[in-house]
């Protein structure tokens, strides 16, 4: 690998704020050719691990979500599993090398929803036990370190994933029809906005939609303000019949569809896998040169600005392919094939590792 890049990584690791809870109980993995070339490593302290990173400087470094009695024993059954952080991997796939970076904002929104609506409101997890980390590439990792959740086994974690992804959720079950004495029409009883879990979330989402984008539900709502008001007022009290829009439940399907979190990665089973290795928070992602940064303030966090390594000046690179417009480090960048340009070294690393540029 490029000596320049390794040198930048090394310089970063000398002072990096490596945020690892109980490092002595974790298994570590490192990689250069692949994300993990070697695993079953263990370190007694963060300083010992730092020393390793500074002297060996791998492109990728990860640690187990699990805590072990003997983290470097093999095979895994002999490590003495004590528990594992509950980890979620939110990411995004998109066509093209750079498209995905324009959509990171969507993943961020899901990360906020996961934390606020699911982890805190539904699961009762204390905010101080939640660590939000930019993955260094296409999304976010969320590490939950709440005591009671650490000992959950794989099957039990799968239940949590099913919940977050809305597997088996049928919003039509929220409703019951009730006869009103002396009247032909039935009363449609449904969730109120102040309820917990999916029911309340659904009611709140419907009110929001009717207020902001009524036309997407019905033309009646779009054209008649009074209809909107009467309907939402009914919902507040759990009465969903106060509208003349026909087939109202069916029309609300588009809202129910958006309640679960779709970007939670399950193909690779990150959450269920209780001996998974995950990128070390505040280490560098070897495919991008971006820091897998621990996010302190999510609202203002911009991964392509806040996760760059420190720049020591500009270097000259040649682009071997077109790079579409990209907001990076508070600048808008785009490059043409064969273009030679002096750019900040921290930004250059990104394009070199992505295979779009070479140092000249």
């Amino acid at each position: 690998m490029n000596e320049f890049i390794i040198e930048k990584f090394r310089e970063y690791y000398k002072n990096a704020d490596l945020d690892i809870l109980k490092p002595e109980e974790r298994e570590f993995g490192i990689g250069n050719k692949k994300k993990i070339d070697a695993r079953h490593l263990s370190f007694n302290s963060i300083d010992e691990f730092r020393l390793y990173l500074v002297s060996n400087t791998p492109l990728f470094t990860s640690h187990s979500t699990a805590y072990y009695r003997y983290p470097n024993e093999t095979p895994i059954e002999r490590k003495g599993w004590k528990g594992a952080d509950l980890v979620f991997d939110l990411d995004l796939h998109a066509d093209g090398k750079y498209e995905v970076y324009k959509k990171l904002e969507n993943v961020k929104e899901d990360a906020i929803r996961l934390i606020e609506e699911f982890l805190i409101a539904d699961f009762g997890i204390n905010k101080k036990n939640i660590l939000l980390v930019f993955s260094g590439n296409r999304g976010y990792h969320i590490h939950v370190r709440e005591e009671e959740f650490l000992e959950l086994r794989s099957d039990e974690r799968k239940e949590i994933v099913d919940y977050v992804q809305g597997t088996g959720l049928d919003y039509r079950n929220f409703f019951t029809r009730e006869e009103i004495p002396g009247k032909k029409v039935e009363k449609l009883k449904g969730p109120k906005p102040n309820e917990d879990g999916y029911r309340g979330r659904f009611a709140r989402a419907v009110i929001k939609k009717i207020t902001n984008d009524p036309g997407s539900i019905s033309r009646i709502f779009k054209n008649e303000e009074s209809q909107r008001e009467i309907f939402t007022k009914g919902i507040e009290g759990g009465n969903w019949s106060k509208t003349r829009v026909e087939k109202i439940i069916e029309r609300l399907e588009i809202i129910a569809k958006d309640l679960p979190l779709k970007s939670v990665e399950t193909d690779t089973g990150v959450t269920q896998d209780i001996s998974k290795l995950i990128r070390v928070p505040n280490s560098i992602h070897g495919e991008t040169g971006l820091i897998a940064k621990v996010v302190k303030n999510i609202d203002s966090f911009d991964p392509l600005r806040d996760s760059l390594l420190k720049s020591n000046g500009e270097i000259k690179v040649r682009f071997n392919e077109d790079v579409p417009e990209l907001e990076m480090g508070a600048e808008t960048l785009s490059f043409k094939k064969d273009e030679i340009k002096e750019i900040k070294d921290s930004v250059a690393i990104f394009f070199i590792l992505k295979g779009s540029a070479t140092i000249i």
Partner: protein, 327 residues
């Protein structure tokens, strides 16, 4: 003696261990033969309630449980252990009538209960650990608020039953027991099903992953949920397996009851139930792969000849090419 009665009902608890230890109860011939009886009655499917009256009988009762555990630990037979766990946990749960007993067991299993305004909640991790694996216990179908899951009294008992079953299924290995235990092993071995009934004509790979996973659990004598049993039953019926064969397959279940199983499989046949669709399977939480076949029954119909089993992608492409060449 309150503690003694509790220990007789729930002989796995610390109270029971203390009594055995305090009184220095020994593992004699009589205890072992009582243990064998205890296991035998579980094999019948129902187990047996204690009728011990006198203190000495009660202590024998506790000791018979301990001896049964040692015997099972020595035999390491999943079929026996799981039969024992299912039957005993059912009995024990049926004996739970006093609130202090419920609380005592919850404390033993570290089940975190929260009571508010006459409602019972379990902490989410406790619920996830001990709730039965069936659709009505999926958290997506529950009221969930700040890490608390609302349950009712009946469900609370059912969850404790599940905790007992799980506890009893875990059995430490016993290597060199007394001669009487070794003799008891010979006696019990006689009672085990002669031919392991799980022989399947269906080869691995012949069925979709979700079915294979359930079958794997079945042959390991694990306790399947109602949805799993129903799904497997409809699948096998639709695949043309005969009633007797399906019933013999279900013999692997630790709570197998021939009459009920036969009735249910016959019901599937009579009603002509088709196996649930993939989306249903997904909502049951039983889907474990992305096969994109719509219904598990389509797994095989993709192959041109039913006798050949499923084709892999490569050979299907070759088929296409060949038919193209002919045109």
């Amino acid at each position: 003696m309150n503690d003694l009665d509790f220990a007789v009902k729930f002989p796995f608890t610390e109270q029971a261990k203390d009594i055995i230890k305090e009184l220095g109860v020994e593992l004699n011939e009589m205890t072992v033969s009582k243990a064998v009886e205890r296991i035998k009655s579980c094999l019948g499917g129902n187990g047996k309630k204690s009728i011990a009256l006198h203190e000495s009988e009660k202590i024998q009762e506790i000791a018979s449980y301990a001896a049964a555990r040692i015997l099972l630990g020595y035999m390491q037979n999943r079929y026996l252990t799981n039969k024992f766990a299912v039957a005993e946990s059912k009995i024990m749960a049926s004996l739970l009538d006093k609130q202090e007993e419920i609380n005592g067991l919850e404390e033993f299993f570290k089940i975190k209960k929260i009571e508010e305004e006459n409602k019972i909640y379990l902490s989410l991790p406790s619920f996830l650990k001990f709730a039965p694996k069936s659709i009505e216990y999926k958290i997506i179908n529950r009221q969930l608020k700040k890490g608390k899951v609302l349950i009712n009294h009946r469900e609370e008992i059912r969850i404790i039953e599940e905790a007992i079953r799980k506890y009893l299924e875990k059995i430490p290995r016993v290597t060199n027991p007394s001669q009487s235990i070794k003799n008891a092993e010979t006696e019990l071995k006689e009672l085990l099903p002669k031919i392991e009934p799980q022989k399947m004509s269906l080869q691995p790979g012949d069925n979709p992953p979700c079915i294979e996973k359930i079958m794997e659990r079945l042959v390991k004598h694990e306790n399947l949920s109602h949805q799993e049993r129903f799904f497997l039953g409809t699948y096998l019926v639709n695949r043309g397996m005969k009633l007797e064969k399906i019933v013999s397959l279900y013999e692997n279940l630790p709570d197998f009851d021939e009459r009920i199983t036969t009735y249910q499989i016959e019901h599937i046949i009579k009603r002509g139930y088709v196996a649930p669709s993939c989306s249903k399977i997904l909502s049951y939480g039983l889907c474990c792969a992305d096969c994109r076949i719509g219904n598990p029954l389509n797994w095989r119909s993709k192959s041109p000849s039913k006798a050949e089993g499923p084709l892999n992608w490569k050979s299907r492409k070759q088929d296409k090419k060949e038919s193209g060449d002919n045109e």
